[in-house]
Symmetry: C2
Subunit: 186 residues, 2 copies
């Protein structure tokens, strides 16, 4: 069903990230992004709910990876094992080909409060979804909330490390180390 120039949304995302890295998020106007993608400001808002969202589109796929992994975990798994399964389910997304893009994206996010704010919201949504998935597997509150937060904590730290300069390990290896460190805390 693709009509027109088929890459409109992706063109906008690439243009936006380029401009954010070049001159910052605040200093970049939506009209500017749209112009670089040969589109109009109004069209930008047909693809993304707001200016921040251009860097966060597709997070629902990641969320479903978390949730599905919990749902498909073996019977009798403990809350902690379910949480670890959730994080492991996300590992498939962060391949080596994706790493350069993720690095640039993270660089843009970390330098702007407005973007960090949106990232925090997305992490919170992830935690809520995992908590609900745990409840669906019979985990009771407040253990479900705490286990979900623990999972998102490992995911967040692992992602930051995965995009750190010079890091070459896969995200799954990083996550395994973090789960061990988390267990060692208790």
């Amino acid at each position: 069903m693709a009509r027109w120039e088929p890459g409109a949304k992706q063109r906008l995302q690439l243009a936006a990230l380029d401009l954010f890295v070049e001159q910052g998020f605040e200093a970049t106007t939506v009209a500017e992004i749209a112009g670089r993608a040969d589109l109009t400001e109004r069209t930008f808002y047909r693809h993304f709910a707001d200016k921040r969202e251009v860097l966060f589109d597709g997070q629902d796929v990641l969320l479903h990876a978390f949730v599905d992994a919990v749902a498909e975990a073996p019977d009798g798994a403990s809350p902690r094992e379910l949480a670890e399964a959730a994080v492991a389910g996300s590992g498939a997304f962060f391949t080596d080909e994706r790493r350069p893009w993720s690095r640039r994206r993270q660089q843009a996010i970390e330098t702007e409060d407005g973007l960090r704010e949106r990232e925090s919201l997305k992490m919170g949504a992830l935690a809520s979804a995992v908590a609900q998935a745990l409840r669906d597997r019979g985990v009771t509150d407040p253990a479900a909330e705490l286990a979900a937060d623990a999972a998102i904590s490992v995911f967040r730290v692992s992602f930051v490390q995965w995009v750190a300069p010079g890091e070459t390990r896969g995200i799954r290896d990083i996550q395994a180390d973090l789960f061990a460190a988390q267990r060692a805390l208790a």
Copy 2:
């Protein structure tokens, strides 16, 4: 040094929360808030960086309570004990007199994505500050990050429970139960 009507900032906060609860955050304009406080829109922005911040002013005091509690914890405390100390240090803020205001405030926040977003950012800032405090006490990464996240997780869940309808326990009792549940996970 107080001149004019001394309660300008507080008047704005009260007016804002009233209006947010009455008609929602989005439907309330800054001019409306300022008008109810007998002030101007421009003056609102001299007290608060943006429309959301009117509900989050003063969070730095809470942050310092977390950080100071970590700094003042006894020598030889484990990372987990330091994290528990951080959370305990916040307990003094959430007295019974403050609970009605906190309830109304949380009610307003939970119904609007824009406000939940800001709350997430503040929680993230709290976690970062606690992580830094742990590093200052000699805890190494990634344990510092994970322990700080665990502390904020307990704090967040305890706060939600503390403002839940019908809840009468003090926040410290709630937090004690949550720490126990968190330890039981591992």
